[in-house]
């Protein structure tokens, strides 16, 4: 629960960061030129403001309190290039294994660009508008509404919630996004089957970056579940910097799933900004299984009376994975409740971070906010930094927080083994039981079954791997270290 920042390392990181902004400047220049015809004025302005913000600040260092436990030097020094549209061909066979059984539709993005060939929208109710963000904006510019929606629908929401001033990754995404998903669920509509948004990073021969941008507008009293899913094809490094804005209208019920299952060379920063109107019930479920350096930002603002938000997560790391969860839960109105539950399982030299910040604004009386972070460390070299942070400006609130760090209980392991269950399976069962706390907080749905099976597979790997490393074989020193470069 502590850290020491190495000054030299940080200064180096800072110097490297500013030098390397050059590649981003180049990418921004190209993008502006490419999109001159396509971007409406308001969007160009949005990009420009965001770009100025990013360029002025650069990447944060571990001096920054919000980044104290995550060193971005390796990210900052890699010269990521803008992906070229259509430069990589991905076949439907290659992505078949990423299918979500029971999903109602699927939008696929390859290296940040929408792929109509790989996407499946099938028979959708006309109460659901779903298309690429690029397409939605083009339609709006043509003067027609995107599939019947209000023409001002996008301008009114895009970039209005995710704040480029408080987070440079949001600024970078806002400046550089090429495409993403646009979803609008009409008033009162109940979308039964989950909507799958699949973001594929496919090796392009160079380290590429993508900045997927998703806008989800759930109109009042609508119900829907969305799965945002990050995957890789191949082993190449890539940087995905996604921002999703989800706006829930009065009494809407929305579940959002983030699934990170990229390769171990991937950098992934995902920012989910939730805006909750009066009486809404919004759940965010983050399932981090893959990726090398992952930062998962979840930022709900409970902006209407009586809103309820569940912020649920599971992160599972091994090798040298670094999984950082940054929660900022803002209570802006009275009578709202928020529940944060994050479980972490870390093996080998993996490192996890849970930063849970709760801000209760002056008017948010009768706030009920709870935060729990539980962690299992499976090796002596694994590490978790967990940090609650409460800022309360109202006087009649209930806020609790707690964190635990433990190992697999030998008593439990012996009990299972004494009944005939062999050690690896017993370990696996116990890991699964710990992880299942996160599944228990999801409603029964195809989305839950899908993540349950992903988690099951990941934990089986971990149990087998753990068995292997508990015998004398030394842990392989992987080339990557997120801390020692810079």
């Amino acid at each position: 629960m502590s850290t020491t920042a190495n000054n030299t390392e940080n200064e180096n990181a800072m110097a490297t960061a500013t030098e390397k902004l050059g590649t981003y400047l180049g990418a921004y220049g190209e993008l502006i030129a490419d999109r001159q015809e396509r971007d409406p004025v308001w969007l160009r302005q949005l990009r420009e403001d965001a770009w100025q913000r990013f360029y002025a600040k650069g990447f944060p260092t571990t001096h920054d309190e919000d980044w104290r436990f995550t060193n971005l030097a390796a990210l900052a020094k890699t010269p990521f290039q803008r992906a070229v549209k259509g430069s990589v061909t991905v076949t439907s066979g290659q992505i078949e294994k990423f299918r979500v059984p029971g999903a109602g539709c699927r939008l696929v993005f390859v290296n940040g660009y929408f792929s109509p060939e790989l996407s499946e929208v099938g028979d959708l109710p006309d109460t659901l508008e779903i298309c690429s963000l690029e397409r939605a904006i083009a339609k709006a510019m043509e003067g027609g509404a995107p599939e019947g929606g209000a023409p001002e629908g996008i301008e009114q929401h895009l970039g209005r919630y995710a704040d480029v001033r408080r987070d440079v990754f949001t600024a970078l995404n806002t400046a550089l996004w090429e495409d993403g998903a646009y979803l609008r669920i009409h008033r009162g509509a109940v979308i039964e089957r989950p909507i799958h948004l699949l973001y594929v990073s496919a090796g392009a021969g160079a380290a590429i970056m993508t900045h997927p941008r998703t806008l989800i507008v759930a109109e009042p009293t609508s119900h829907a579940a969305v799965i945002e899913d990050y995957v890789s094809i191949g082993e190449e490094t890539a940087f995905s910097n996604a921002v999703t804005e989800l706006v829930a209208g009065q009494d809407a019920v929305v579940s959002h799933f983030l699934v990170e299952r990229e390769n171990l060379a991937a950098f992934n920063v995902s920012t989910l900004r939730l805006e909750l109107a009066r009486g809404t019930n919004v759940s965010s479920h983050s399932i981090l299984l893959g990726g090398g350096l992952v930062r998962n930002n979840v930022h709900p603002v409970l902006a209407g009376e009586g809103a309820e938000c569940l912020i649920n997560g599971l992160f599972v790391g091994a090798g040298r994975q670094h999984l950082d969860n940054y929660m900022l839960v803002e209570h802006a109105q009275p009578q709202c409740s928020s529940r944060q539950f994050y479980n972490g399982i870390l093996d080998d030299r993996a490192r996890g971070v849970f930063h849970g910040r709760i801000v209760v604004h002056k008017d948010a009386q009768k706030t009920d906010a709870k935060q729990t972070n539980r962690n299992l460390l499976l090796s002596d070299d694994a590490r978790i930094d967990t940090k609650p942070q409460l800022e309360i400006y109202a006087d009649d609130v209930k806020c609790t927080h707690g964190a635990t760090i433990g190992q697999i209980e030998e008593e439990q392991l012996f009990y299972l083994r004494s009944r005939g269950i062999e050690e690896t399976s017993a370990r696996n069962l116990l890991l699964y039981a710990f992880a299942a706390e996160c599944l228990d907080r999801m409603q029964d749905s195809p989305a839950r079954e899908f993540v349950a099976s992903l988690i099951g597979d990941r934990l089986t790997d971990l149990a087998v791997n753990h068995q292997a490393v508990s015998s004398p074989a030394p842990i392989k020193d992987e080339a990557q270290s997120w801390e020692e470069v810079g």
Partner: protein, 256 residues
């Protein structure tokens, strides 16, 4: 061939020798009871037989069905037919009772090259045996022992035993903390399982349990060795006269 043959067993925990040359032979079909004061090594014996790794065997040998039990991992001993009903059953949040028992049954079946049971075959059997032990149906999907009363935990041990059908069942103070009704139910479960192919090792402090489960043999364990053996009548005698130094077992009265 005896089912279990323990010869000159010495075992230590964290460097303290607890068992100091224990000899015991059990044949299939027999019920043996081990009695003795606190700290005499009763639970250590149970743990060693269940292959708990924190107990170090320093000398002696144990044959189970002719095989070297001390070479076995806990899961192998279980698959060979050793079952320990724990004195303090462990709570395992997140794993359902029925799921756990079915996993265990299937692990054992797999070990013997038998087909695995699916939930459809398993559940009726499980529920039927729950009924014998007068357990609430609701416990089927509850997490293993989580939030169970003391009596429910002990009955759950016997239920697992009834499902796994071991050759040797070791009951480690299963009676402690049970009220008389629960004790009768537990005994009923055990008696239903007595048979020519199965042996029981019933570890207890009190003769009371033996009113319900009549042993063929009673052994007295003191300071890591068996000091006396006899028939069921020995338990009654012990109840009367004690193991010898019984004062140590009683709570010391504080001086006024």
């Amino acid at each position: 061939m005896a089912l279990l043959e323990i010869q000159d067993l010495h075992a230590s925990v964290e460097g303290h020798e607890i068992l100091k040359g224990l000899n015991l032979t059990l044949n299939a079909g027999e019920v043996h009871s081990i009695m003795g004061p606190n700290g005499s090594g009763k639970s250590t014996l149970a743990a060693v037989l269940a292959r708990r790794e924190t107990y170090e065997v320093t000398r002696g040998r144990v044959l189970f069905n002719g095989k070297d039990l001390l070479e076995m991992k806990p899961e192998d001993a279980a698959c060979e037919g050793v079952f320990l009903a724990f004195q303090y059953p462990v709570e395992i949040p997140g794993i359902g009772n029925a799921y756990f028992v079915r996993s265990a049954m299937n692990a054992i079946r797999k070990f013997h090259g038998q087909e695995e049971l699916d939930a459809m075959d398993f559940l009726p059997l499980y529920k039927e045996r729950m009924k014998i032990l007068e357990m609430d149906d609701k416990l089927v999907n509850r997490s293993v022992n989580e939030g169970f009363s003391g009596g429910e935990k002990k009955r759950n041990e016997i239920l697992q035993m009834a499902m796994l059908e071991p050759k040797l069942a070791i009951l480690d103070e299963t009676d402690s903390g049970l009220d008389i009704d629960a004790l009768r139910i537990v005994a009923k479960g055990v008696n239903a399982m007595r048979g020519p192919d199965r042996a029981f090792l019933v570890i207890t402090h009190y003769q009371r349990l033996l009113d319900y489960i009549t042993p063929d043999f009673v052994h007295v364990l003191v300071d890591g060795k068996i000091v006396r053996s006899g028939g069921a009548e020995l338990a009654l005698e012990l109840e009367d006269k004690g193991y010898g130094p019984t004062e140590a077992d009683l709570p010391q009265a504080l001086p006024a």
